[in-house]
Amino acid sequence: MHAASAPLTKPGWLRELIAVWGYAQRNYYLTKRYVLWEVVWLVYTTMNALTIGFIGVGSGGSAEEIARLTTFLLIGSMVWSYLSMIFDLLSETVSWERWEGTIEYTFMSPASRVTQLLGMGVYAIVYGMARVIVMLIAISFFFDLSLGDANYLGAAGILAVCSVSLVGFGMVAAVMPLLSPEKGQQVTSIVTAVLLLISGIYYSIDVLPGWMQPLAYLSPVYYALDGIRETLLEGQTFGSQWDNIWPLLIMGAVFPPLGLWLFQRGEHYAKRTGRLKRAG
């Protein structure tokens, strides 16, 4: 029987690396299987971005002012669609695993949680980038944008730094569906909605009530948007955005380990109380 047996002798680091690829590939398979839904979703978010862009067009003022506001709004829309996707992908994959019951198989496998986070995180970032590029192309047909001075590289750098903290943030949020697949997803939806409200996606946070404004400083999305707008609209350099970058670096250093730690606490709790079981 099982003649060609899989080698048990691979070093640990190589096994983990193969598993990172496994997690990323698994999410790719899921995207592929739901490709029609993915297209629908992409069209929907693109339409949404267009709608918001047209608010800018209809705002009145000089052509230059209009272009500026439109660009301001569209940057918000695109950055939000990218960052919220990273966040959602992580927590949604975990709720999915809970529904299907495959989470038991992930948890009893030798691959570590860091590996799982890396695999899903890498996929989320690559897939998110691909979507944003498609959206950008579609949107560029509709609007006169004020991107004459844009520093694209600087903006991409800020987005990259922010992605790391969003992956960690997603892992924090994934603890909820881990403990309860029904209620968990509801909680993460609320978290998403709060982020949308406080991060200054379509407006400067100055317009928020005074007590709400400090909340924005806790959101990585706020710093990313502020930095990206400066680099794209004003052509600022990456270095000049240090005020936005250092909070992102701190959050990028804090959220992933925090997410992992919380997730492992959740896993331990679930294993102690029998939360993982569905049937049998």
Partner: protein
């Protein structure tokens, strides 16, 4: 080095006084395992018989690191699986009654994913998948269909393949043949027999099927209400419970040991559940 330690270990599995209870209400607990001790030798197949709710699945979950015991020790190849789960997970795998998969993905995709979590690459897994599936009579032409299109029996075969792909030295089988048609049941049992003949893996097999237990297992344990009330070879169990001059069947042993037949025990358990 873990692998060397594991290869030198005398026993595949050693459980000492495992207790596990689950909270049902404010001060109400379901006692799933009560002081269960058990040793599984290398290359041995031990069967666990028990009615519904007797704790079989909990036992398997505790060993496979999915449930933490309240007290007691679990040694897998001499390594404490509760304290060092990551060290032993590579060497065991589990097949459970409910075949949990991403049902929208194909069998191939699910298997490739399952194998990678154990560090098995596509290049290693693909030929094995072919070989294993042919061996258990799974129609290989259907390997790229979404799994939701497959019958339960076919899904169960994929679940077995997922475990075999990682070449586990300890196999935990939780009712692997429940719900399969006679033909598929035979295929799966044949496969377990082949693994056994290999002497490479040790197997813990929970089942409802007396015949299966008797045919496939070196020793048989009886689990009732979380207690392991017997554990011996089928012959010894029969000898111990012999009354007249005709050796009893395993069914009769079960009845004598538990005071009920397997069917009755299940029936009572269902009633209990309804009453609760």
């Amino acid at each position: 080095m873990t692998l060397e330690k594991i290869q030198r270990a005398k026993h595949a599995l050693e459980l000492r006084n495992i207790d596990k209870r689950f909270k049902k209400g404010r001060k109400d607990y379901a006692y799933a395992l009560k002081s269960v001790s058990l040793t599984l030798n290398r290359g041995e197949v031990v069967g666990i018989l028990g009615p519904n709710g007797s704790g079989k699945s909990t036992l398997i979950r505790v060993i496979s690191t999915l449930t933490l015991p309240d007290s007691g020790e679990v040694d897998v190849f001499g390594i404490d699986a509760v304290k060092h789960p990551k060290e032993v997970q590579r060497y065991m795998n589990r097949v459970s009654v409910e075949a949990s998969f991403f049902k929208k993905l194909s069998s191939m995709e699910n298997l490739i994913f399952g194998a990678k979590l154990y560090g098995v690459t596509d290049r290693e897994s693909k030929p094995m998948i072919r070989e294993i599936l042919d061996g258990i009579g799974f129609d290989f032409t259907r390997v790229n269909e979404p799994m939701e299109h497959l019958s339960r029996g076919m899904q169960q075969k994929i679940a077995l393949a997922r475990a075999l792909l990682t070449s586990p030295m300890l196999m935990l089988l939780d009712e692997p043949t429940t719900g399969l048609d006679p033909r598929s049941k035979k295929d799966v049992q044949e496969l377990i027999r082949a693994i056994r003949a290999d002497h490479e893996s040790s197997i813990l097999l929970c089942t409802h099927d007396m015949g299966e237990a008797e045919e496939l297992c070196d020793r048989i344990g009886i689990l009732l209400n979380g207690e392991l009330i017997a554990l011996d070879t089928a012959e010894n169990l029969k000898r111990q419970h012999q009354v007249g001059d005709r050796p009893p069947t395993l069914e009769e042993v079960f009845m004598a040991a538990t005071g009920t037949t397997l069917e009755e025990a299940e029936f009572e358990n269902k009633d209990e559940k309804k009453a609760a």
